[in-house]
Symmetry: D2
Subunit: 116 residues, 4 copies
């Protein structure tokens, strides 16, 4: 991980892209890359998505790589430790969803529905 | 990283959520979490996004944690090594954007514009 | 509008795409098209986004057209009247944001931050 | 439609939100609202998404309304006629996907896969 972060820092520095990398812009790029993964699956059934063919899996690896790259860039700009953030959030999710609970419907969506 | 992956596996197993976790669904959840980061920045200027206040940064850490969790879940379901995928994609990006090149406009967008 | 809806219905019927058009899938396609608009703006400043050049504006028109097409498809599948839904939601937004109020920070985001 | 557009213009003017509504920001808000629709469907099967219960359908109507509102705001800022853009894009889509053709895999995704 540290090695990957260092390589990404060098990549950005060599291109002088720091000026483009406001967190606002990196968040946009992150969501665009996430959408490219969604695009791959949009007309597949859930069952098909569990068994992608070789070419699709190669494509997915590229897009997953891009999401990871932007996620690292964003976390760095905000001085957030990515692994620590995921550990901490997993702890919160444990409390929010006790063992045996169901992820449906999303609590956020339900809360918003009531609120609006 | 290995420790985080193991904890996420346990989290899913304890809740029996494997049946919800088709890659299609995890891709949707990943993009929803990415959008929650975009929501935080949508009315901020780029300059403001570089200097989030304490509460906003705490909120960002949670959302970044969620993106990381879903990204790990998705990569696992597809049997893709997340760090290796990012390393490999960074290598491709090096070739696509030689040092000194500009990220604007996105080549994919320009290509699509010509094509459509 | 009625004319556009009728044309879209014919487009889907001619291709026999009804079987792909579960609301789940149309929601994915809608978000992918929205992300293609975000991609165009991701490295632009806000000021630049207010003054797109001719080619960018043509590209934007195409992507905005695609979002509208999927939004109509989705509303139809759910038997929701698109214009009536927007009118009704605008009424709710009027109450949520009294004249003179500020859209920053997003109330949903702030609420979620407190809740999580 | 003209009536809705006029109401949206008045809504923005009364709140003096024009200064927030750079196309870059409106594109972000549009994608965030699209993601809120995706969130509703993320753990549902395709079959379940075709038969939402009453509360879910009410929630969907609100979110679809929000997407429509931001889409109108964005088109206006760019001086793009929303209905004309959708008509024109539908014509292009007719050529790209001849009757009898399949939407899978997405041509853009396949092209990008080859290109990258």
């Amino acid at each position: 991980m540290q090695n990957l972060i260092a390589k990404i820092e060098a990549f950005v520095a060599e291109r002088d892209w720091e000026r483009y990398h406001a967190p606002k812009n990196l968040a946009m790029a992150l969501s665009v890359e996430a959408a490219e993964i969604v695009e791959i699956f949009q007309w597949m059934s859930e069952a098909q998505s569990r068994e992608p063919d070789r070419a699709t899996r190669d494509h997915l690896r590229d897009e997953i790589g891009d999401v990871m790259i932007y996620l690292i860039m964003l976390a760095r700009k905000l001085d957030i430790d990515l692994l620590a953030a995921a550990h901490a959030k997993l702890g919160k999710n444990r409390l929010k969803y006790p063992a045996g609970s169901d992820p449906v419907p999303p609590p956020a969506a339900a809360a918003r529905s009531l609120k609006d």
